[in-house]
Amino acid sequence: MRGIRLQRPQINPIIVREVRTRMRGARPYVVLTVFLALLALTGVGIFQLMAQQARFGGVLLSAQVGQGLFKGLAFVELLLVVFLAPAMTSGAISGEREGLTYDMLLATPLRPEQVLWGKLVAALSYLFVLIFAAVPVFSVVFVFGGVEPLALLKALALLVMTTIFFGTLGLFCSALLQRTTRATVVVYALVLLLLGAPLLLAMVWGQFSSPPGQAPPPSLVYLQPFSALMAITTITPSAGQEMNFFGYGDPVSGLPFLMLLWPGVIHYGPAGPIVVPVYRATLIFYGLLTVLLGWATAHLMLPGRRWRPRRSDLGFVLLLLVIGLAAYAWRDWWYVAPPRMG
């Protein structure tokens, strides 16, 4: 055979290329600046709100300020991530088709999984830059106290997992629909459905349950990232039940929208309110769905005979099995059913 001796690519070429171009031009810096400015403004706003309430005679503990800030910042950041992640990936594969570089890419020995992985990592790495650049903003919380570092880590894990899942959803739509505009429209429709449908169902659940008035089950909001975040950021008071569940000036008691996130997460039982840790199931199901979507996307990227079994399918099956088995083994950890009310 003519030609030179060749070996497998070492670093994924797509990642190298995307990383080279990702930070070129003013746009990435503008997005980063706006992102951090929005977060900082949120923090200042929450602090002002609480300080105002304290001026009108409320009893305000420093810890409550910390908790309020944590909650507010985490929600805004999750909101930004949920809407940025699909935007970053919905053009990743369709863009190659539209940019007429897809054939050139397919003509190389790169495998679809490599392209997929490269695209995902490249898009997510920028989002991770946003998330991690915001960590210093979050650290303001510790000035006031009231939030344990573990809660911050949980919130970070949820942010990262949500980014990965919504990013993969964008990639899947991009590969399926082959046109960036169509993919973007569809992925946002899916995002809205994922965010809105569980909340709407939870709102009307009591009217249709038997006996009527039942609280919606936590499983209803497993895929709702904001409900999961609610479960993380609602800090259960450790010192007795007489303390207010939500402090003064807590954004949850101030913003009616956030109250919609209670059902399925906060249950009022005979022993007082409890927080169901739905975020654990969210992490697991996002993991499973990410692998499934990635698997489908890898097949969708093939030029012909897309659904013929491939060797890489084994990897995906293995990954699914590992997550599935782990979820089964630790089902007591994530499957928490609240006590039924009479």
């Binding site: 055979m1 030609g3 070996q7 070492q10 003509a107 030029p303």
Partner: protein
């Protein structure tokens, strides 16, 4: 590795670079390619010519392993091609190619070199060599989107060469190029041939290729009409010759005589098929004659001179490839 080496172990040096056996590709009911048997010898520049929609791009995509044939097979350098992904024996330049924005010229080549798994030192050397080959060394750090169409075309050609493939597939490389860029492209193709590459280049415009190719194939509606060395194709197709006669004096006499000969053929004269005036030159009469020897053509000249016609020019004009192509691909 996508090329099966299980068969054809004794790959002969003279096996063709490209060989297709009854290659057929259907899109639904439409037959894009119908039992195509294409053979391209090693080291040749093969012009693959046909009107738009004839099946050229389908053929090239099949050869590049980007799509699978409905039936039939492709052999590259004697090895059977297993489609379904990239393979290393061909470099493929698509008809419509894209460039990545915000990527520098050297990074563009570096990216594809990485895709083929070239290690760092080799990659640097290859990028330098290719930039010199396609004359873009001075634009090394320019952004790809800032290059002219011709430069992008050359860059795209260079991308197809990063893994040093023995076979190059170029789909419509000359389309959209200005005349100077076309000349440069032809030079580049010759250089590639001198480097020992086999080049298959498609076009819907024959004149773009006629000078640089040593073999051509004409395809229409998914079927190969004729294929082989340029001269052979020309001879094979040339069913008639056109005589160009420039008449200084006695144009009317000449016309009348020729028309009479067309109506009543004579044994020792060539059989005339049509007589018409050249629209670009009033004094010229164009005569289509059936393939005939020089002997008969001389006899026709003698007859005209004897009739008192004063002739300043009399020559057989070979039908050019362009016209052959039109005749072949439109006459149905």
């Amino acid at each position: 590795m996508r090329v099966c080496r299980c068969h054809h172990k004794g790959t002969h040096a003279m096996t063709p670079a490209i060989e297709t056996v009854n290659l057929t590709r259907r899109y639904g009911r439409m037959v894009a390619l119908d039992h195509l048997n294409l053979t391209v010898a090693r080291g040749s520049i093969y012009g693959f010519i046909g009107p738009n929609g004839a099946g050229k791009t389908t053929t090239l995509r099949l050869l590049a392993g980007l799509i699978e044939p409905t039936s039939g097979e492709v052999r590259l350098m004697g090895q059977r091609l297993i489609p379904g992904g990239g393979q290393r024996l061909v470099g493929y330049m698509p008809d419509f190619f894209g460039v990545y924005d915000d990527l520098r010229v050297w990074e563009y080549l570096d990216f594809f070199a990485r895709c083929y798994g070239l290690e760092a030192a080799r990659r640097r050397r290859t990028v330098d060599e290719l930039l010199n080959l396609v004359d873009l060394a001075d634009r090394r750090n320019a952004y790809v989107q800032s290059l002219s169409r011709g430069m992008q075309q050359r860059l795209c050609l260079a991308h197809a060469l990063v893994h040093d493939p023995p076979v190059l597939l170029l789909d419509e490389p000359a389309s959209g190029l200005d005349p100077r860029a076309r000349v440069e492209l032809r030079e580049l193709l010759r250089t590639l041939r001198d480097m020992g590459k086999t080049v298959l280049v498609s076009s819907h415009i024959l004149s773009e290729l006629a000078e640089v190719c040593n073999e051509i194939g004409i395809i229409d509606s998914g079927k190969m009409i004729v294929s082989g060395p340029v001269e052979m194709v020309r001879r094979q197709l040339a069913g008639s010759t056109r005589l160009r006669i420039r008449v200084l004096r006695g144009l009317e006499t000449a016309r009348a005589l020729l028309q009479q000969l067309e109506a009543t053929p004579e044994e020792e004269l060539p059989r005339l098929r049509g007589v018409r005036a050249d629209p670009s030159d009033e004094a010229v009469v164009l005569v289509e004659v059936e393939e005939s020897g020089e002997e008969r053509q001389a006899a026709l000249l003698t007859r005209l001179v004897q009739a008192g016609v004063v002739i300043s020019e009399f020559r057989a004009q070979a039908e050019n490839l362009e016209e052959l192509f039109l005749r072949l691909t439109t006459a149905e």
